[in-house]
């Protein structure tokens, strides 16, 4: 459709803010962000219309020489995710990015448009060449955005780490495309679909594609860039990266799995599922240990992408067992959870930005009592935290429930003892992940928003400007709306992965799934209705017949007045978990005596706690050490003496001559 190309032009128009005169930088910002809002809204509306009323054929189908654009249903879902998240995050950026006035705000706004443009371009690419070009633009633009606060040292190192790792991923994807393309003698997606590889080349292509996309979506052990890049980027950029860019990797992987490689091999599904579930648990475990708000959210993205890929792998496994009617629940679960994660993680990164804006810090150990200072932000964050803990009436539980149903379905079909054991282990991991996620977000919310202020930075905190609240509000409303009325989203996703022939899982009362035997039902509307009735009854009972509210009184604290330092800290809150899983976390704790007059009192201590990332320590650092030592071994042949180099040349020539004679 031409309208989609129009929205691309609007993004391009927004990108022009980079070259606006410096004097008009705020005008440039407003104009550029308005372009992003309008274009994202258009993308959202167009793709949703296409999904709801498929007119037949493709959403976009254009050819310009070697570039071609084509967007089918699978693209449209991710276009909708991009459009919706792009829309509310851009509204938020109207006010949030004002903080960058005087520090390259024109570039920020321009690149923001270009980033959205490149994401849309990746999603509508019709051949491998266009895909890779758009993918590279997306990587470079997001690198520049992460690196926006380049005057800070850790930002630069995070940005370069991201740059290097994302290019490794691109290299892997290039190899996969090369194998497919050279086999089908064309880089067009349509041709690649018709000529599937076989044999070991297929395994290599699958491995490369999975590695490349897993890297971009932050699955362990390829996640190490993610917890560094998200905190370094401006908050709205992190929201878009986490909410949308990670899903683009799922889009790419889905295209490979569904169309180019196929799922007939049982190992493919197994690998994806195991990697996904392990990432989910380890991701949330690390999230629970962090004190930097954005690092917590970044690790939580690792968790959620893990759950999404876990469900996707479960579906691939069911497909490999030739159980297509059952596999749809898993693919639906993966896409629904991807959509819901884009809403809730977008929301949470926006509130992290709001908190940073208000307090100037990302460290939750310094916060406390923010609820009273910024009630609206606190309310929206509560919804986000509930959704990420997958609690009822939020979109989080819809995805989570479908994921659990798909694993139950897999369990029913698991014939062999090995597979059954694997399913049991997946359930253990899912249980651990779910409960730890709840703990993680209780900890985040309670430390930052409840209790008393832990430092003076909270004193000057204030409620956020209108557009920031509006952006968060839209996301919060969507999270709750999808959580209470999930049927349209679930049915859309189901129709997309299974075609219009299957009986829809969603109906106005809730969602139903019968693949695991009897029908399982989740009806948030009815539960909500019952809840409201009981709530009313309890409220009336407490208000009319209870003992009433008497007064506020300071807590009894053994004769002393409680200080704000006696509150539990975030680190203390997660200590039991840290001890329970210390064999994985390997935390390093060091106590230093600053003053010690006596063994028991008059002491002043300082405790240093460090929880290094398992894979950074055990995988990346050894590789790095090995690379440096092996390259320094080569240093000996390069001493800098000219006669030695002439000697090398002579030896090389002799070899060439001998080789030529032979």
């Amino acid at each position: 459709m031409d309208l989609l190309l129009c929205s691309l032009l609007i993004y391009l128009l927004g990108t022009m803010t980079i070259i606006w005169p410096h004097k008009l930088e705020m005008t440039a910002h407003y104009a550029g962000t308005a372009c992003a809002i309008i274009a994202s809204g258009m993308v959202a509306v167009i793709s949703i219309c296409y999904l709801v009323m498929p007119v037949g054929g493709l959403l976009v189908d254009t050819d310009w020489g070697s570039y071609s654009l084509a967007a089918d249903g699978w693209s449209s879902v991710f276009l909708a995710i991009t459009g919706i998240a792009g829309f509310f995050i851009s509204i938020y950026a109207l006010d949030y990015a004002k903080g960058y006035r005087g520090s390259r705000i024109r570039a920020l706004t321009g690149l923001w448009n270009l980033f959205l443009l490149s994401i849309v371009a990746v999603l509508i690419a019709g051949d491998a060449f266009t895909f890779i070009v758009a993918w590279e633009i997306m990587a470079l633009v997001s690198f520049l955005l992460v690196n926006h606060e380049a005057d800070r040292k850790e930002t630069v190192s995070a940005a370069y780490q991201y740059m290097v790792m994302t290019h490794l991923g691109t290299a892997a994807i290039l190899v996969a495309f090369y194998l497919l393309g050279s086999h089908s003698a064309s880089f067009s997606f349509v041709d690649m679909m018709q000529n599937t590889l076989d044999g070991s080349l297929k395994h290599i292509a699958f491995g490369c594609a999975f590695a490349g996309f897993a890297l971009k979506s932050g699955l362990m052990p390829l996640h190490t860039w993610l917890p560094n890049a998200h905190p370094a980027a401006p908050s709205h950029v992190s929201a878009l990266m986490s909410g949308v860019m990670l899903k683009v990797a799922l889009y790419g992987f889905g295209r490979f799995a569904f169309q180019f490689i196929g799922m007939d091999n049982i190992w493919y599904g197994l690998i994806v599922m195991i990697v996904g579930l392990l990432s989910a648990f380890l991701g949330v475990l690390y999230a629970t240990m962090e004190v930097d708000m954005k690092r917590i959210l970044a690790y939580s993205s690792v968790e959620n992408m893990g759950i999404i890929f876990g469900a996707f792998g479960c579906g691939m496994l069911l497909m490999a067992m030739h159980l297509m009617p059952l596999a749809i629940v898993a693919f639906t679960a993966a896409t629904v959870h991807a959509f819901s994660h884009s809403l809730m993680k977008g929301l949470m990164f926006m509130s992290a930005g709001a908190v940073m804006h208000a307090t100037g810090s990302k460290n939750i150990e310094k916060m406390g009592g923010l609820l009273k200072k910024m009630p609206y932000t606190a309310f929206f964050t509560l919804i986000g935290a509930m959704a990420l803990s997958s609690l009822p009436f939020t979109s989080g539980l819809v995805g989570e429930w479908l994921v659990l149903q798909s694993f139950i379905t897999l369990a029913q079909q698991a014939g062999t003892p090995e597979l059954r054991l694997l399913v049991v282990l997946s359930f253990i991991l899912l249980g651990l992940t779910g409960a730890t996620a709840l703990g993680c977000f209780v900890r985040l919310y309670a430390t930052a928003f409840l209790g008393r202020a832990r430092s003076h930075i909270v004193d000057k905190a204030h409620e956020q400007p209108f557009f920031m609240l509006l952006g968060m509000g839209i996301a919060a409303v969507l999270v709750v709306a999808v959580g209470i009325l999930p049927d349209s989203v679930v049915n859309t996703m189901q129709m997309l992965v299974a075609g219009p022939m299957t009986a829809p899982m969603g109906n106005p009362l809730g969602i139903m799934w019968g693949g695991s035997g009897h029908y399982a039902i989740y009806s948030p509307v009815i539960i909500l209705a019952v809840t409201l009735v009981i709530t009313l009854a309890v409220a009336i009972a407490v208000a009319c017949f209870g003992g009433g509210f008497q007064r506020r009184e300071v807590t009894w604290n053994c004769g002393t007045v409680p200080t704000e330092r006696q509150q539990y800290s975030a680190t203390g809150f997660s200590k039991p978990l840290r001890r329970a899983f210390d064999s994985i976390l390997n935390s390093q704790r060091r106590t230093e005596y600053i003053r010690k007059d006596h063994d028991y009192f008059g002491r002043k201590l300082q405790v240093h706690l460090e929880i290094p990332d398992l894979f950074t320590e055990k995988l990346y650092k050894p590789i790095q050490t090995w690379m440096i030592s092996s390259s320094s071994a080569f240093r000996h042949i390069q001493e800098g003496s000219v006669s030695l180099y002439i000697g090398y040349t002579m030896i090389a020539m002799i070899f060439v001559l001998i080789w030529g004679v032979m």
């Binding site: 253990i428 409960a435 709840l438 977000f441 919310y445 695991s516 019952v530 409680p562 539990y568």
Partner: protein, 294 residues
């Protein structure tokens, strides 16, 4: 639509019934403990009197608390009530609006708010309780998931009503017995009973659930206590209906479970907090064996 409303009304009636008897069961557990300690003990109705007493008292709040602190007890009570209304019906004509996973996540909603409120009063005890509650729940959750998995494998359903023991088939099997023991361990941990937590102590460094309730008074405290009594009742009903493979009426099974809790609480000490993972590990291994034996 008529049958939906009728079914929902029956669900609520069932929850009200369980609510009415929940303090009695708590009284029975205390009486069993007193009997085994060769004490007279309080009347089995004592819990009703305690609840009435707290209900009449006014609420006193700490100055640092926010709205979350006031909302949390209500959410906790309501989620317990919802869980009670979702149990496999013993009244005819009920409708199923959810399944076992939703049951778990409804209870998680109550836990979420209780843990938030524990941090809201800005004291050390509350945070300690919340932190430990999270720790225990992380260890319990995998066992709960496996308990659901084993029954859904056996009865091909994830709804609670679909998982009720089928007395027509072979119901007393090795795997059913293993699952029964494991689920009883889950009940103790999930409801803050000995040996995981001690429901009788205040102001000890060992407490978990009581630590979170320390700052509450008046009707809010009543709601929390009623909520946790109801939760015990709900889990005992679930234990009887789904996991205890004995062909006796449900009420007898609930009483049996209550006596069993009393007995276990007398015979065991509170376990060290970091030993809980070994305890829950045992439950998980039992469930694993049950699934393999299935």
């Amino acid at each position: 639509m008529g049958y939906v409303f009728q079914g929902l009304a029956l669900n609520i009636v069932q929850a009200l019934l369980l609510l009415a008897f929940a303090p009695l069961i708590a009284g029975v557990i205390n009486k069993v403990k007193a009997f085994l300690q060769k004490r007279q003990g309080a009347s089995v109705l004592q819990e009703y009197f305690d609840l009435a007493k707290w209900w009449k008292k006014p609420t006193i709040l700490t100055p640092y608390t926010s709205i979350i602190f006031v909302v949390a007890p209500a959410v906790y009570f309501i989620t317990s009530f919802l869980a009670a209304s979702m149990l496999p019906g013993f009244l005819a004509g009920q409708i199923s609006i959810s399944d076992a996973f939703i049951f778990v996540y409804i209870l998680a909603l109550g836990r979420f708010f209780m843990c938030l409120s524990s941090m809201d009063a800005a004291t050390a005890f509350g945070g300690m309780g919340g932190s430990r509650e999270v720790y225990v729940s992380v260890l319990v959750e995998p066992a709960v998931m496996l308990a659901i998995l084993i029954n859904s494998l056996r009865y091909h359903s994830t709804t609670l009503s679909g998982m009720v023991i089928d007395y027509d088939g072979a119901y007393f099997t090795v795997s059913a017995a293993l699952a029964c023991v494991a689920f009883f361990l889950v009940i103790l941990a999930e409801n803050s009973r000995l040996p995981v937590d001690n429901p009788d102590t205040h102001l000890e460094l060992t407490m978990i659930h009581e630590g979170m309730t320390l700052e509450y008074s008046g009707p809010l405290l009543t709601l929390i206590h009623l909520g946790s009594m109801l939760k015990v009742m709900v889990f005992l009903t679930l234990f009887g209906a789904l996991y205890l493979p004995l062909a006796v009426p449900l009420a007898v099974k609930i009483l049996f479970g209550a006596v069993l809790i009393g007995l276990v609480e007398i015979l065991n000490n509170k376990m060290r907090l970091f030993k809980v993972r070994v305890y829950m590990g045992a439950a998980i291994v039992l469930l694993l064996l049950a699934i393999i034996a299935e």
